[in-house]
């Protein structure tokens, strides 16, 4: 009796919790299909897909999207190798300074994003000012650096978790067979890290794509999708924002399903081999 009651309470709480997580997203999506000229769920005036057409023709958004994709790719290219190096160094560093090293690497995750953006801009402004050249004082470049400072730390955390399961005997065996350090790194460590590298790349790209706090400072006069979006949401909105939300949600769901499916397939293959 007691056990059944507990179960009921747990299930009810789960239901409420997930409703709380997903209902706002569903509600936000509805105005995308409503003909009403401002984002409104009810009264529902009529079904339309016009807002999606409007969205596809929005040049500012498309420009921002292109910048966001570029920045995302560059952030992956910077933070995956940097995070990997950080994880390897963390493992090798003298145990007495390891806590300090760990703290410095984790700091950018804890520091508020606006402060990272501000400090990146100030540093590069002063640096380019004293160097007398403004070529590097560029929104996209600064955004990539600002975002990479904490996204590298995310990647490092993933790599550290994977490295802990690395069997050093594999390396020893390769050295005994006459492999060079570089060969061991490329031929043994990297293949072992492959799953972690893939998930780090996905995490890095998505974190970059959805970032606002750091980007809004570091991007200077340029624009990304999130800063364009923020501008539109602030000055009274159009249902085109809802349409964009629908696109993002659908893309996210498809992507999660794809990842889940790939994960299952890999697990199955590993089982078949093992």
């Amino acid at each position: 009796m007691m056990a059944r009651l507990t179960r009921l309470v747990v299930d009810a709480y789960m239901l409420v919790f997930f409703a709380y997580l997903f209902l706002p997203l569903v509600i936000m999506a509805i105005p995308a299909f409503n003909t009403s000229p401002y984002p409104r769920v009810w009264p529902f005036d009529g079904v339309t897909l016009d807002w999606f057409v409007r969205l596809a023709a929005d040049d500012a958004m498309l420009y921002g999207l292109r910048n966001s994709l570029w920045i995302g790719i560059l952030v992956v290219a910077v933070s995956v190798p940097v995070g990997l190096a950080g994880a390897v160094v963390l493992q090798q560093i003298d145990s007495r300074v390891r806590p300090l090293f760990h703290l410095v690497t984790i700091a950018p995750v804890l520091v508020p994003g606006v402060i990272i953006g501000i400090s990146t801009v100030i540093f590069w402004r002063d640096l380019t000012l004293s160097a007398g050249t403004k070529t590097l004082y560029n929104g996209v470049f600064l955004t990539v650096l600002g975002q990479s400072s904490f996204i590298s730390a995310y990647c490092m955390l993933l790599f550290t978790a994977r490295l802990q399961r690395f069997d050093r005997a594999q390396e020893e065996a390769a050295f005994d067979l006459g492999a060079s350090h570089t060969q061991v790194f490329l031929g043994i460590l990297l293949p072992f890290m492959r799953p972690a590298i893939l998930s780090a790349a996905v995490l890095a790209f998505l974190s970059s794509f959805e970032n606002y706090n750091t980007t809004t400072f570091a991007i200077l006069a340029d624009r990304t999708l999130t800063t364009v979006l923020a501008g539109q949401v602030r000055q009274g909105t159009t249902p085109a924002v809802s349409a964009l939300a629908v696109v993002i949600i659908v893309a996210t769901v498809l992507f999660s399903v794809l990842l889940e499916w790939m994960g299952r397939r890999r697990a199955k293959r590993a089982q078949a081999q093992g």
Binding site: F17, P31, T105, L110, I115, T182, T226, A230, S242
Partner: protein, 340 residues
């Protein structure tokens, strides 16, 4: 008084000096203890890989983390000057930006800067509240995932939890605007049902902002909490139950102490992010609710006073660290424990 150019050189030298000092101290201690020298870094990794590791980590920690922070702090001690006078004779170190934060004027100390100080206090206090609220909200879910759910059900729960996180902060704030606006869903429903006579101003009363902030950081509480509770031995809980402890005893005196570090890291994360939140206050903040982060933003892009903005950002950072370290002290934890 040292000039700005010298100041910059000192700043760049500082981290190198610190690294050299630490390295020397380590070598010295090793010699004192008569330990054999460690296998060299390059001996262990080879030259190409060794250079990659050193360069990547140095560029990251110096170029993206430490030096930018130092330069921001340095700028906060300089006056606001037109572009062509930067580094000139009037560019000297001063406390005027901090004076402005406290007293509302760069020179006089007569009256307090109540607007900014109040916004500052509100921001910190409400972030503490949001972290606490999220802890209570997420604890049951995290506990169930860690100790109750298994296999396919657990995977599904994790997937469901991660999905909404990829909808960005601005859209999440926008969702709450659709719900809480004066002609929004909630008011329409309440009016239609005859429960209220006139629309409630949810945005002006900060209800929208608090809901939006709590919602935005829920997931960042669930995951650290889930990790921590996952490491609590089921046998311990079982033992307490067999000894006849009531359920709330089990949670308060067995599970929570064992999961202390994870609880602290979840709270730290949510607290820091909620203090630094920018999108939600911009989109959902009412006219009366001044938050500190939008004020910092305005220093840069409305008032165009960067040194003052840097000072405000530094004050925010220090306040965050003080609150987090004080909270951890209460729990007898270190800052490094939260990063696990």
């Amino acid at each position: 008084m040292i000039s700005v150019a010298t100041g910059h050189r000192l700043l760049v030298a500082l981290p190198f000096v610190l690294v050299a000092l630490i390295w020397g101290w380590l070598a010295f201690e090793r010699r004192l203890a008569a330990l054999p020298p460690r296998a060299g870094f390059f001996r262990r990794n080879g030259w190409p890989v060794g250079i990659y590791l050193i360069l990547a980590v140095a560029l990251w920690l110096l170029g993206m983390v430490v030096l930018p922070q130092l330069f921001m702090v340095e700028l906060s001690f300089r006056p606001k000057l037109p572009f062509n006078q930067l580094g000139g004779p009037r560019d000297v170190y001063t406390l005027e930006n901090y004076r402005y934060f406290l007293f509302g004027s760069p020179t006089s100390t007569e009256s307090w800067n109540t607007v900014h100080l109040r916004a500052f206090a509100t921001t910190i206090l409400s972030a503490i509240f949001i972290a606490g609220f999220n802890l209570l909200l997420c604890y049951p879910i995290a506990f169930y995932m860690a100790q109750g759910a298994t296999g396919a059900r657990l995977r599904l729960l994790l997937l469901l939890l991660i999905a909404p996180y990829w909808v960005n902060e601005i859209l999440r704030a926008f969702a709450f605007r659709v719900i809480f606006a004066s002609s929004g869903l909630l008011n329409t429903v309440l009016l239609g049902a005859g429960l209220i006579a006139a629309p409630i101003d949810f945005i002006g009363r900060d209800i929208a902002l608090f809901s939006g902030l709590i919602y935005a950081y829920t997931l960042l509480m669930v995951f650290p909490l889930y990790n921590a509770l996952d490491n609590v031995e089921a046998a311990q809980i079982e033992a307490a139950r067999d000894l006849g402890a009531p359920w709330w005893h089990i949670h308060l005196f067995v599970v929570v102490p064992a999961a202390k570090a994870g609880i602290a890291s979840g709270c730290t994360l949510v607290f820091m992010l909620a203090t630094g939140a920018l999108a939600a206050p911009l989109v959902l903040g009412g006219p009366s609710a001044m938050r500190f982060t939008p004020i910092v933003y305005d220093r840069f892009y409305q008032v165009f006073n960067w040194p003052q903005g840097a000072a405000y950002a530094f004050v925010l950072l220090v306040a965050c660290l003080v609150v987090v370290v004080a909270g951890l002290r209460l729990l007898r934890l270190n800052l490094t424990d939260t990063a696990r």
